[in-house]
Symmetry: C2
Subunit: 467 residues, 2 copies
């Protein structure tokens, strides 16, 4: 939080500004930050203007979460059909039809986009299509027109970061957006960057038989994961994906990706498609932020825990803040900003935000990892159990189904600090851990909660008894 933001924290609506603006809230950007905030604000009777330069739903719906999970679901159908004989189901020849899978992906996107449009209408949110220019507090320009709002919310999101490597301008060097529109499966894929986006695509393509190489600069994939589980996860993907860790890409020469290993050796991989997934940058350019005196740097717009910027009645939410690049963080930030506008006490807490990777297997987590908890000065105790402890997991994934649940607690207070999972289906389980951590439950409390049998989730209960 910046000094200005702190100073601004307890400030209410700036009374020096003229009242009776056309809108109560103007939101720039209709991603999961902007449209959720617009919906909730409209529901409360606020007059809301939502400005979007491309499609309702933003990157998340159109080129992110939703298309990737829809395609991963198709890939899961392929893998499950292939594995079905293990469970007594014969299927004949199983084939992946990229055109059909892409068509379903498009249909899902369009259905959800229609759903958001309907929700906006139902909640009386005015939506306009166009590129917004922020003129300062209260004023936003779209085309020739200047709109006035008591509050302005900047939710402009982020874009794929393209590192300055020679050769990235070639057509077969793609971002996560580009690769969602391919019309032919590649035979080989090089993924540059072993973060969430890179790994989900690596899982998708490799499970369909594409030869995939991941090149990652760090010594392990998914940097924010528990280190032990990241290794377990990588091993579960291995055999299908080749990992080149501690390697730095130096150039992409036609289809050849050149890189230097940790030991300094020069190597190269040939790939039909090269996916650049080294990270995303906040969208800060050409929107008038600098001219308006907004406090930001290359990591994002500076905000306090109520998502207030340094300018009065100007908020920023979502990826553009650089605080968290998750759709659900953006939505929650929008809710906190709205509560703040409405005079309700709320704050954006980072300690219990769950995350998930929708690969095969899935991974998910919430709260502190063992290392983070130690760094934060806790007297840490951890326990871990394999997912195959669950009868249901065994029945559905086989005896060698990869997966584990690890929990981190403060040994002095018995308070649960973190839950970390690898294994099929864990993306739908992790929210319960967010409930536990938000409610500041002790391990002793969780031990008294009854989990249904037979479920995979029971491993999370069992591991509480291993602490």
């Amino acid at each position: 939080m910046t000094a200005e933001a702190v100073k601004n924290r307890n400030q209410t609506v700036d009374s020096t500004l003229p009242g009776n603006a056309e809108y109560d809230i103007i939101i720039i950007g209709a991603g999961p930050g902007g449209y959720v905030m617009a919906e909730r604000a409209g529901h409360l009777g606020k007059k809301v203007l939502l400005i979007e330069k491309e499609y309702l739903g933003g990157v998340c719906l159109n080129w992110g979460c939703i298309p990737t999970k829809t395609l991963l679901n198709s890939a899961k159908h392929y893998v499950h059909a292939k594995e079905a004989p293990n469970f007594g189901v014969t299927t004949g020849d199983v084939q992946f039809d990229l055109t059909k899978a892409m068509a379903w992906k498009t249909e899902v996107i369009e259905t959800l986009r229609g759903g958001i449009a309907f929700t906006m209408k139902k909640n009386k949110v005015t939506v306009i299509n166009g590129t917004a220019k922020f003129l300062g507090p209260r004023k936003v320009q779209v085309g020739d027109k200047v709109y006035e709002g008591e509050n302005v919310v900047i939710a402009t999101g982020s874009s794929p970061f393209i590192p300055p490597i020679p050769g990235t301008e070639q057509l077969h060097v793609m971002t996560s957006t580009d690769i969602l529109s391919i019309d032919k499966m590649p035979e080989t894929l090089a993924v540059i960057g072993g973060g969430v986006i890179g790994i989900e695509f690596a899982s998708f393509f490799s499970s369909l038989g594409v030869k995939v190489d991941v090149i990652e600069m760090l010594d392990e994939i998914i940097p924010f994961m528990d280190r032990g589980q990241a290794k377990e996860f990588r091993r579960a993907l291995k055999g299908k994906v080749t990992f080149n860790l501690g390697c730095r890409v130096t150039a992409i020469d036609d289809h050849t990706v050149k890189y230097t290993t940790a030991k300094g050796e020069d190597k190269a991989i040939d790939a039909d498609i090269v996916l650049m997934s080294v990270g995303r940058s906040p969208n800060l350019k050409d929107m008038g932020f600098e001219e308006a005196g907004l406090d930001f740097d290359r990591r994002g717009i500076k905000v306090d825990e109520q998502l207030r910027t340094n300018l009065p009645n100007v908020y920023a939410i979502g990826d553009v803040t650089g605080l968290s690049q998750l759709a659900h963080s953006a939505s929650r930030m929008g809710e906190v900003a709205l509560n703040t506008i409405c005079g309700k006490r709320d704050r954006f807490r980072m300690n219990a935000i769950p995350w998930a990777v929708y690969s095969m297997p899935e991974v998910a987590g919430c709260g502190l990892t063992e290392n983070q908890a130690k760094d934060a000065g806790h007297n840490v105790e951890t326990a871990s159990l394999p997912m195959t402890m669950s009868g249901r997991f065994l029945a559905e994934n086989g005896k060698r189904g990869p997966g584990s649940v690890k929990v981190v607690k403060d040994a002095d207070t018995d308070v649960l600090l973190g839950v970390h999972m690898v294994g099929a289906g864990c993306s739908e389980m992790i929210y319960g851990a967010a409930v536990m951590i938000e409610a500041e439950l002790r391990v002793k409390d969780v031990q008294e909660i009854v989990f249904p049998h037979p479920t995979v989730g029971e491993v999370l209960r069992d591991v509480m008894f291993a602490l």
Copy 2:
């Protein structure tokens, strides 16, 4: 709770009994009540004797939860393979191989049984195979030998109840145990009783193409479900299953099931197999309970909230208490009994025990239904949303994928009272509702918890904003 039980509530170990018994705890029955209690007690260093007359894991592992869920998983593979073209995956002819599915079911059971045996050994629990006779406090006989324990825990479970209908003795009239060993798929199946067991088998067989009729005496299936969701659930099963509600079976004459409708008409259905699933009765006979002066009736052994019976240091847990016929209730009862033995305060609470039906679609719930909450005198407010509100659910289940989430709150206190779900995957989601209800969260609290996007679970968060 009986008067005796209440009187006994604060009683500690009966000091008139001689000390230094061979075992700290003798447990009769190695189902999910008995073996979980044995494991936890052994882990704490207690000397435990576990007596089992058949197989470790009891009904749940050998003839209940685990085999049914394993078979239902095979059926899900069959249905998913059939539906795979919708998601861009083509297959050849999809066939269900009963022999292979049954073999996998057996392998799962044997693996888990081995797991329990290993856990018992690791926790130094003595396991003996035999039929126990309860001789009163401290004393249990197996064969010729009398074992002594400071505490005795009765965990003898329940058995399928066969109503006095003519014809039930025929070989093709089966209990849930019998039907798990068939070696040929029937063409037609009549299910008598529309509770959890009946519906799971109806879903299993109908999804594999068997013509299934359910005959239920009440006017709706799954009696403890939210009434609106039970109807929605039944509709989702319809088309594949024929429901005959408000009907009473009068006789089973060879393959003809004769019944009387609500209007008093006599009707009949022909079926290759007739499944009797009208309920389960506690196992109370021929075990010496009456002679020993144990307080019980046909519904079960009477216990207080610490699972104490009327006899000193004698506990009863699981189905035999008649309190709750759920494996996870039994396990929790075992934990509460153990805590009580160890002098730790604990009590078996019924308000947040989740349940699930593993059919297609799944259903699950936790806490009070709308009607239960009204009956309990709450000022009730409810909200409901379809599962297709979730982008992930839509992507994975299609636009007409059945499902909903309904929540019940106390309007005066804002406290969440119940969560009820219909839809694929909800069995793994419901535990989070148990956490919320156990932690006595208000709807306002849940609104501040971040759920991962895109997940199906998000509908549970969204519905909190519809209250």
